[in-house]
């Protein structure tokens, strides 16, 4: 029943999305408002239909409908309720449906909110968003259907999965299906996996809205700043979720993958990072278009590039192109996804070229000064794009080109990223510090120097302090230098503005700061984001350059020493968890200066032959004492423990939190809706019929 319900809703959603695209295109070509209303209605109904499908699958997971092949493959009789829920995105078919459902949610919201405000853009917005939604529903229906069920051929005993009942086949015995059900991949049985994929998906799918508005602006030739104003919050929301997804992904890797790190430059990790980089460039450069009417082509390139990277990341993760801990198994959706990505990217690039040739994308002002804010913003954008290109090259470009030209596969190791990315990140942090101090139009070097003087002095003082206390590594000092500078500039800007308010309005400092944040949340929210990125940067530098590690086999009562920490092995506990995994838990005590500071329980979880090391961690702002149980010998009760000291690693998570707060502040701005757009002159006699607002 649930399979039939989910499948029929999915088919109806596919029909509705195709109708929405067709009606929107027809409405745009004929200026017929009734067709546009039809397009809107078809687009809006897609979300409830996909909701029915998604919840039907969720209900099937919760109620153990093992005849459904998806439920059978991602849950078993021992799966706890929480992981039955997360199993919704535990494998390709369910995750694809979940992804499409989230995308339809964004489209639903964007159409309803913007319907009356941007009537000229609506046909294009509906056409581009719903074409994307229709494509993904099509993948779910035809290639990765989560509502397929197992069917038994009573003659041969063969079992096949099919969405509709194949002729002559019967339902297999339920108890056999239940007993053989596979269960969720152990790597996904972690708290981080409850939140990380949805956040990442929300970030990915959210960029469909600014992309569609940009394409709609080009299609309608309405290339004023309307599309940028319309999509500012959508872009920030998508960026926020993508940031959250990346941070949580790092945390999951740190907790579950058992190698003491959080970012391994894995191609699939990188694939998710690429749209973030371009999206970050976009949310900065749109400010220049809003304020100065510049960078019109550049902004289109960035948002189209961002969405193109979203599609590419999805293709890379889901097609089996790259084997990774993050990727799904090899799938037939690879070719259609590649073609869709190529088509979207190609059409978008062509549209930009055409509109540019028509002279519709001319900037209102030329670049006049190399130190102006717009120039520094562009420079920072160029750094983001350069990072995107070099990471893309290392992850996909070099391996693919090598295979095509030499026939030998090449993989690019972490050494590549360690050489290529640090100089660009240093430049990025430096510009992050300098650009906010520059003015639009013209800035002299002297004025910029005066503005940066105090933050630079405080940075120099901080570096001197670090050097005196033992941080003498030049790479670390350069890294800390630019990172602290960016953070101090953010704080300095808030301080300076608050001081000015105190002088002019007689307000106290807290009141002045509050007033600043309430009056210009976008600007000051941005500074909070910069502060968050600074804190993340400090954490990354500390944990990368100063990680210490040792290993040793220990018998009960023996100790392991690293820096001023001592790890004492107290004994072993063997246990079976509720979900039947066998746990081998080492009881260890962490001492510092002879004083006990923590008791940790690193463990190995054995899921019927598939083992995972779960670290024991003692976390402070200063560092993480991270302990892995690598081996246990039953005969001697000895264990092999790996001990890592990861300095400042927790700043990465705290910085992420600050970044989220800043983004929420920045996107919570006063309504900047432009005056209602005049509707385009309509050729049809049925002007204005049925237009809702």
């Amino acid at each position: 029943m649930l399979a039939e319900l989910g499948l029929s809703s999915l088919l109806l959603a596919l029909a509705a999305s195709v109708i929405a695209v067709g009606a929107a295109v027809y409405a745009a070509r004929t200026d017929n408002q009734r067709w546009l209303v039809s397009a809107r209605n078809a687009a809006v109904i897609t979300f409830p239909l996909l909701t029915v499908s998604t919840f039907a699958l969720l209900a099937a997971l919760m109620t153990e409908q093992y005849q459904m092949a998806y439920v059978w493959s991602v849950t078993d009789l021992d799966t706890p309720t929480l992981y039955r829920f997360t199993a919704l995105w535990g494998s390709q078919a369910g995750s694809l449906l979940f992804w499409t459902w989230l995308m339809s949610l964004f489209v639903f919201g964007a159409i309803l909110i913007n319907w009356g405000r941007y009537p000229r853009l609506m046909p294009g917005v509906i056409a581009y968003t719903m074409a994307t939604v229709a494509f993904f529903i099509g993948l779910s229906v035809f290639l990765e259907n989560p509502f397929e069920r197992w069917w038994l051929d009573p003659i041969t005993g063969a079992i096949t999965a099919a969405a509709l009942v194949p002729a002559g086949m019967v339902v297999p015995p339920p108890q056999i299906l239940a007993e053989q059900s596979q269960g969720l991949n152990p790597l996904l049985r972690h708290f981080g996996m409850i939140i990380h994929p949805p956040m990442l998906y929300l970030g990915f799918v959210g960029f469909v809205i600014p992309f569609a508005f940009a394409m709609a602006a080009m299609t309608s030739r309405d290339l004023s700043t309307g599309w940028i104003i319309a999509t500012r919050r959508w872009s920030l929301v998508a960026w926020l979720f993508l940031s959250l997804g990346l941070i949580l992904g790092g945390r999951w890797a740190y907790d579950v993958l058992g190698w003491g790190g959080y970012w391994g430059w894995d191609p699939v990790e990188n694939a998710a990072f690429l749209p973030w980089l371009l999206g970050t460039a976009f949310i900065h450069s749109v400010m220049i278009q809003e304020k100065r009417g510049m960078l019109k082509v550049w902004n289109l390139v960035l948002i189209i590039g961002t969405f193109s990277m979203v599609l590419f990341a999805t293709f890379a993760t889901r097609s089996g192109l790259i084997e990774s801990v993050h990727s799904f198994a090899r799938s037939e959706i690879g070719l259609p996804m590649f073609l869709f990505w190529a088509a979207i990217t190609g059409v978008s690039a062509y549209m930009i070229l055409v509109r540019r040739r028509e002279g519709l994308l001319k900037d209102d002002h030329p670049f006049t000064n190399i130190l102006s804010r717009e120039t520094l913003f562009v420079l920072n954008n160029v750094v983001f794009v350069a990072l995107t290109l070099v990471i893309f090259w290392g992850s996909f470009g070099a391996p693919i080109i090598s295979e095509m030209t030499t026939g030998t596969e090449v993989t690019i190791g972490v050494e590549y990223y360690n050489i290529v990315t640090p100089p660009l990140f240093i430049l990025m942090y430096f510009l992050m510090g300098v650009a906010p101090l520059s003015a639009y139009g013209v800035t002299s070097l002297r004025r910029l120097g005066l503005n940066i003087l105090y933050p630079a002095v405080i940075t120099a003082f901080t570096l001197a302090l670090l050097a005196v206390t033992g941080t003498t590594d030049p790479a670390a000092l350069v890294g800390y230098g630019v990172t602290f500078l960016a953070g101090y500039v953010a704080l300095w800007e808030v301080w300076r503005a608050a001081q000015a308010r105190q002088r002019s309005k007689g307000e106290s400092l807290p009141v002045a700061v509050l007033a600043l944040f309430s009056r210009n949340r976008r600007r000051y929210g941005g500074y909070v984001v910069h502060l968050g990125v600074t804190v993340i940067g400090i954490g990354v530098i500390g944990s990368t350059l100063f990680q210490a590690q040792t290993e040793r086999q220990l018998r009960v009562g023996e100790s392991l020493v690293l820096q001023d920490y001592t790890l004492r092995y107290d004994g072993i506990t063997l246990a079976t968890a509720e979900d039947n995994r066998e746990m081998t838990i080492a009881d260890v005590t962490v001492l510092r200066g002879g004083q006990e500071i923590a008791r940790l329980r690193p463990r190995i979880d054995d899921f019927n032959g598939m083992a995972m090391s779960i670290a024991g961690q003692h976390s402070t702002i200063e560092n993480d004492v991270y302990v892995l149980l690598n081996d246990f010998r039953e005969d001697t009760q000895a264990v092999r423990l790996w001990l890592y000291i990861n300095p400042l690693v927790n700043l990465i998570w705290w910085g992420g939190l600050i970044l989220i707060v800043g983004t929420l502040l920045g996107s919570w701005t006063a309504d900047t809706t432009p005056q209602r757009q005049p509707a385009k002159p309509v050729k049809s006699a049925r002007v204005g019929e049925g237009v809702a607002s």
């Binding site: 051929d153 056999i176 991949n185 670049f367 290392g394 190791g413 590549y416 290993e551 690598n630 081996d631």
Partner: protein, 188 residues
Amino acid sequence: MARVTWEKTDAAKDFLAQGRQTERLKFLVGGVILLGLVLYLAFSGTLLGARFFITIDEVLNDPQFAGQTVRATGVVLGDTIVIDESSDTTIITFTVATFPENHPNLAEALHIGATDPNATLMQVRAVGQPKPELLRHEAQAIMTGTLGPDGVFLADELNFKCPSRFEGDAPVMGQQDHPGMERLDNAS
């Protein structure tokens, strides 16, 4: 009242145009420097980070890969695994056999590789790495490292892959689970 207008003189126009040209030149020079930096970084990084993903036979026999850090894959032979944990540093040694290429089923490919009497064998040694959870007989080893002069592959990085029960299979029905099979067996 007279209307006041202000027009730029030719000299002022020339001055502005000259200024713009200078700025344009600065942009151009800056752009070229940045592009050069990025290209240099990408090129030097690729040279250092690129690892040819080759077979065991190529590691052992192809002179172009001698002394190079490469990535290779093979099938682990279980009875050769030795993990020496007596010292402060774990030393892992094992032997791998050629991994059959282009086989659609991982479990079958691994079994074929492990039982092929004509397969090329290579000894692998890894020092100071955690004992991999998946190091076992008929696991696929993906190793990054260099072939030593003694013919032993010194692995800096070890990854293992085993056929997972969490991927891909379909349920299997025994005879007792479906009457049709029973009938067919009786008939034959």
